[in-house]
């Protein structure tokens, strides 16, 4: 039994494609930005209104694009109706297929309620903008604030369902020890909030808002989310560091046996520490230099988006390359076609198109916390959003 053995391990293809990474990334941005829009939109905190405007734009666009990526990951996307015809309550994926459409509708209705007063104020705008505003605002009656709060609370509740099911769906898979840990779902949420705060920092710069209040709020959220992520990662490590089997043991074995996993672990750790340090520096820097420092917040935003996306790539794609029944690691090269590069670029392209279309036709910059058109500043209708889009480029 102690003789050397040679074994030929067959190559196994990965089962979930980069579409899964795109879905998990988009849906995490979606639920996290919803919670960042909530302080102003649902709970009526006016100081958070500039953040809520950017967050809602991010939330609606990611919510619209995420299910497209999810459908694309099915090998039989046209059979999606089987999810509803033959639901299986034992499967987290089936539970998710019931929560997701409700959540998507919730976000769409909430966005419409939040943007409706601004749309109503634009009814008389010239050209296509006015036509779309008249069509989308569905009449003159004011939007009841209570309705915004009600739909907001309902959608927030549904978003916790999304957090739970996306995490549990992966964490229950015993066959992949790296996934099978209770610390994975909270880590998805924490990195989701890091990326969402980063996205709002980037949008704050790209949309030309350049609000210092938004930068400060998002840097604080990012700092908190980094701390939580660090805590979760630390707990995961300590939880399993003495075990011979399980998630941490599998991770340590991968780091020991593979140069690629070593560089991934090093890169992930370093990026996390650098991001945390940089955010801390920006928040605690001398008050006189704050505006200059905050102006660079968008760079940290890009790093945060990288952290959120890479975490999902490593968890969903790289873990599938760890052989579970034979030795070593399977090679995975990202294909060029729709199950690879094209799918990744296509998802981001669709997202960009959604952002640009909303920016063209919806005066999201004047969004309120619900209420009536009287809440909109009188100057607002004089600035058609098309002009705004061009100005801010």
């Amino acid at each position: 039994m102690n003789s050397a053995i040679e074994l030929l391990a067959p190559r196994f293809d990965i089962a979930w494609y980069p579409w899964a990474v795109q879905y998990f990334f988009m849906i995490a941005l979606s639920y996290a930005t919803l919670w960042l829009a909530a302080p102003a939109l649902v709970f009526g905190r006016p100081r958070w209104l500039p953040t809520a405007r950017l967050a809602l734009l991010a939330c609606l666009t990611t919510t619209l694009v995420a299910p497209v990526a999810l459908l694309a990951d099915l090998h039989q996307p046209l059979r999606f109706w089987h999810f509803y015809a033959y639901a299986n309550s034992h499967s987290w994926m089936s539970v998710g297929s019931l929560v997701l459409p409700l959540y998507v509708v919730g976000v769409i209705v909430l966005s419409w309620l939040a943007w409706r007063p601004a749309l109503q104020a634009h009814r008389q705008a010239p050209g296509l903008g006015g036509l779309v505003a008249r069509w989308l605002s569905l009449g003159e009656p004011p939007t009841p604030r209570a309705l915004v709060v009600l739909v907001g609370l309902g959608t927030l509740a549904l978003s916790t369902g999304i957090m739970l099911y996306t995490g549990a769906e992966v964490a229950i898979v015993k066959a992949r020890p790296l996934w099978h840990t209770v610390w994975l779902p909270p880590m998805f949420v924490a990195t989701g909030f890091i990326a969402a705060a980063g996205l709002i920092l980037v949008l704050n710069r790209l949309a030309g808002e350049r609000s210092t209040a938004v930068n400060r709020q998002m840097l604080k959220v990012m700092l908190g989310a980094c701390l939580v992520a660090g805590l979760v990662a630390g707990s995961w490590l300590l939880d399993g560091i003495n075990a011979n089997a399980g998630s941490v043991a599998a991770a340590l074995a991968s780091v020991r046996d593979s140069a690629e996993w070593r560089s991934t672990a090093l890169w992930g750790g370093l990026t996390g520490v650098v991001l945390f340090g940089a955010v801390l520096y920006l928040l605690t820097g001398p008050a006189s230099r704050r505006p200059t420092l905050y102006a660079w917040g968008w760079v940290l935003g890009l790093v945060a988006l990288h952290v959120g996306w890479m975490f999902r790539w490593v968890v969903l794609m790289d873990v599938q390359t760890v052989a579970r029944h034979s030795a070593g690691f399977h090679h995975y090269g990202i294909p060029a076609g729709s199950s690879g590069i094209l799918g990744i670029v296509g998802t981001f392209g669709l997202w960009l198109a959604a952002i640009l279309l909303i920016d063209l036709f919806v005066p999201w910059r004047q969004a309120t916390q619900g209420g009536s058109t009287a809440d909109i500043s009188p100057a607002a209708p004089d600035h058609p959003d098309v002009e705004g889009a061009l100005r801010h480029g």
Partner: protein
């Protein structure tokens, strides 16, 4: 040669994860997929610890070893059992105490091995005389990254333990 087929587990992890109940355990214990219902989400492919499932490129649905259920129904043996010249593969009804498989299981009970027993899947494929290093994932050093067959097609990776 260590044949690795679907273990037709008594507690199959691939069945409860299926969002559309396309994969199920028959009364006789054989785990199969209804390819007309399968949406190809590949959740079961990831949930199987034995790499026994895959997405069939032609049907774009989950596929696996069926113990040749269609042959069993016609009174034939599975193709792998039929073709094994050494008679090393034995299939039978474990619920019949008089069957050859039941008698062999009783005779070799202490020497029988299953793959990854710690996963609690209760595999129904038993190995007799297997190298113990294959019970769990073998810890081996890669020797060659690509092993090609005479036609230049990749067969897999070579490892040394």
């Amino acid at each position: 040669m260590l044949p690795r087929l679907c273990n037709h587990c008594e507690n199959p992890p691939c069945v409860p994860v299926c969002p559309v109940e396309a994969t199920f355990q028959r009364q006789d214990g054989i785990v199969v997929v209804d390819s007309d219902r399968c949406v190809g989400c590949a959740y079961c492919v990831n949930a199987c610890p034995y790499d026994a499932r895959f997405i069939n490129e032609r049907t774009q649905t989950a596929d696996k070893c069926t113990f040749c259920a269609h042959r069993l129904e016609a009174g034939l043996l599975p193709a792998c059992v039929e073709s094994c010249v050494g008679g090393a593969r034995i299939i039978g009804d474990m619920r019949d105490p008089e069957s050859q498989i039941s008698r062999m299981i009783a005779e070799h009970r202490d020497a029988l091995m299953v793959l990854q027993p710690e996963k609690n899947t209760l595999p129904q494929v038993f190995y007799l005389g297997m190298d113990e290093r294959f019970v769990t994932r073998p810890d081996a050093e890669p020797v060659a990254l690509e092993v090609l067959d005479p036609h230049g097609q990749e067969m897999g990776y070579e490892f040394r333990h």
